[in-house]
Assembly symmetry: C2
């Protein structure tokens, strides 16, 4: 083990020097397809080289702010919501992963030219190419990413009866991520005494930057280059993204190019103003980054219609920034009785967890809800419980007032009407 | 629990009647995007509604028989090999999943019109729509699918020095599959006494059919509608595919439309002729369907080039039809010493399992190999051990003779040359 570690250490220490070397890796199919001029083969290659979904499948992302008319002078977010009602299993197809970019298009980055710098309060500043990172031991983990604003009631569409899970919870997605533990890179650079935070910076046109506690960086953060088995998509940070499991989406810096080790948070606008949790009493909670326990039933859900009374397996998703989902309860009678749902194994930490619940619909109007509990014992709150936790005045959330945008991970009620139609019933 | 089961049972028994009913499920984004005529929103929807990979990413599938010139009169398979050397993690992107169709294009199936019939030796023949199946409890599991012919040495390209993992092992892929346990459907139909096999039939133009033992059907088979979080792709069986975990790919009937419960195997051409394991002594092993323990190092691998001596994390994949991978050993000195690789958790049964191994390359020529062991204790054989197991005469495999195409799951050696280039060295 000693010799392995020393080899890895030596490589890491040499990486700054290596960064400029063209690795000369060959193109993957070079010389393998032969020089056949057979038209059949050419046709096959054209049609099937990189397959597409059936033209009968039409799930798409929809605009974020585009859903509401933003106030005059406020630019639209470049954001797209993921169609959660179409998720099968726990993985969001990369083509449908939600995205929020604050008014910029994803940059078009040549991976051969991209570099990641680790610097600041370290003994050995380093520069890595993407290929350098792929030479290191990799880990693969399933994690959700979620925008802090997911589901907030300040957007009017969130409360409309025809809102689908895409509208109510679509700023959240879950992928299989592959990359290098950030702790490995930081330890290799040698973190100096007194360092307490890191600042991560992206290569987008605004150089989006985020302060993250060093403890979190050393815990379970990853520098990822893979998503769902292929390179991270441009909209999710190609070629490199920081993954900060369970923390507000804004921490997961895309197009990652710099990590600076520092001794205080840098108080960027996004974290001190836009993303501070401002309460009605004017006080803020800064860096309250961990997402709470959440869940949503995706079938049946808003906008769907049941063909008639009878048996339905209720399907849903649960997740928490606090760790594993330990329990999901479902009520099919509007909250009078709650029973445990069946949880799909294996359960991943800080990841979507699929649940099902057998239900016999008797044809009468009712409310369906789900409630998750995570490994820390945190329980997903109702709207009323949420208002109490945050000391919100009565009617505040219902009024659609702005200014408060904490992690609104409340229980989602769906109303099933006698004609089988299903409606959003957030404040029921 | 009693009432739940009875509801599910009643639904299942009513499914034949339900099959003809249009369910009236709404289109997923109906009415949610509003009627905005904002050109920015329109542009966003066009560009990001269904995202694409970076144009710098160029991994593609390559032709199967197209790799070799088939004998006169023998039609090409419509087959494409998956670029295993590009796999990050354990999931094959759906667009790159391998496919073998025996001379037909994937059919273009309207899911609203598609039906699955369960019949034969059952008490209650049933017809399901795709929507009916989605009303049932679903399970999500990670499984590989692999063609029986993966890696066989009868194809000359398999033995060439410049063969990549795509050429040597590319008739294999791994996905997250979501669907309904076949056992649930069979129990709901009531399997009659004396039944011992099922026959599964696809809706392709040749009505590909396969006999599968009833014990296997009741064990862990799935009728899947989901792959990697979205509907199964057309090339993998949209809208329904039978998944037979750990068995030769040909059992995983695509475009599934019928399952007949019977009392003997039906001896279709594909299973009694093409897919019988014919040994040099003329004897066959029929229905020897379970894939053995396999593994391959994907980085470094054939066609790649190391930039210089120093540290490399060796990355590889292991899998077995026998269950979980329990151990992977790696040698970096051509077999003199073997050491345990680190296995990525969680390990899924009958699924790709990622492993890494820290390696300090001293710049000298060497051979890299990996060897997997599954939960049953089965160990991946060397070429010599494989020849012994199958009583093959000396030089038989090396000669490239046809006629024998058993599951060739042998240890794969990669030769690293002093200039850093890596070559296929199958018979080393």
């Amino acid at each position: 083990m000693q010799s392995r570690k020393s080899g890895r250490r030596r490589f890491l220490e040499d990486s700054a020097a290596l960064a400029g070397i063209a690795l000369g890796a060959t193109s993957l199919a070079d010389g393998q397809t032969g020089s056949s001029s057979d038209p059949t083969l050419a046709r096959l290659k054209a049609v099937h080289a990189y397959g597409e979904r059936s033209h009968f499948v039409d799930a798409i992302r929809i605009g974020n702010n585009g859903l509401d008319k933003p106030p005059a002078g406020v630019p639209r977010d470049l954001g797209m919501r993921s169609p959660l009602q179409d998720v099968v299993g726990i993985i969001t197809p990369a083509s449908l992963h939600y995205m929020i970019n604050h008014n910029y298009e994803p940059p078009d980055i040549d991976p051969q030219k991209h570099r990641l710098m680790i610097h600041g309060m370290v003994d050995r500043p380093m520069i890595y190419t993407v290929e350098d990172l792929k030479r290191l031991p990799s880990v693969t983990r399933v994690h959700f990413v979620e925008c802090r604003a997911n589901g907030v009631p300040q957007r009017k569409v969130r409360t409309l009866p025809n809102a689908t899970p895409q509208v109510t919870h679509g700023l959240s997605s879950c992928s299989v991520w592959t990359g290098v533990p950030l702790s490995l890179l930081l330890r290799s650079s040698g973190v100096k005494k007194g360092a307490t935070w890191i600042v991560a910076e992206g290569a987008d046109e605004l150089l989006h930057s985020k302060s993250i506690p060093l403890d979190k960086a050393m815990d379970d953060c990853l520098v990822v280059y893979g998503q769902n088995g292929e390179p991270v998509r441009p909209e999710q940070g190609y070629p490199l993204r920081l993954l900060v499991p369970g923390y507000q989406g804004i921490n997961n810096v895309k197009w990652l190019r710099r990590i600076k080790v520092v001794d205080k948070p840098y108080m960027f606008k996004m974290e001190s103003d836009d993303y501070a949790e401002i309460r009605p009493d004017g006080k803020s909670r800064w860096f309250d980054s961990q997402m709470g326990p959440n869940s949503v039933i995706i079938r049946p859900s808003g906008g769907q219609r049941l063909p008639g009374r009878g048996f339905y397996a209720i399907h849903g998703l649960a997740w928490s920034g606090g760790g594993s989902i330990k329990r999901v309860e479902v009520t099919t009678d509007g909250g009078k009785t709650w029973k445990d749902a069946e949880i799909q194994q294996p359960v991943h930490r800080k990841a979507y967890t699929a649940f099902t619940f057998d239900w016999d619909w008797n044809g009468e109007e009712t409310l369906l809800k789900s409630r998750s509990t995570d490994e820390t014992g945190d329980v997903q709150p109702s709207v009323a419980e949420y208002a109490k936790i945050w000391s919100l005045p009565p009617g505040y959330l219902e009024s659609g007032q702005g200014g408060f945008t904490g992690n609104f991970c409340v229980i989602q009620p769906w109303k099933v009407k006698r004609d089988g139609s299903v409606e959003n019933a957030l404040f029921s």
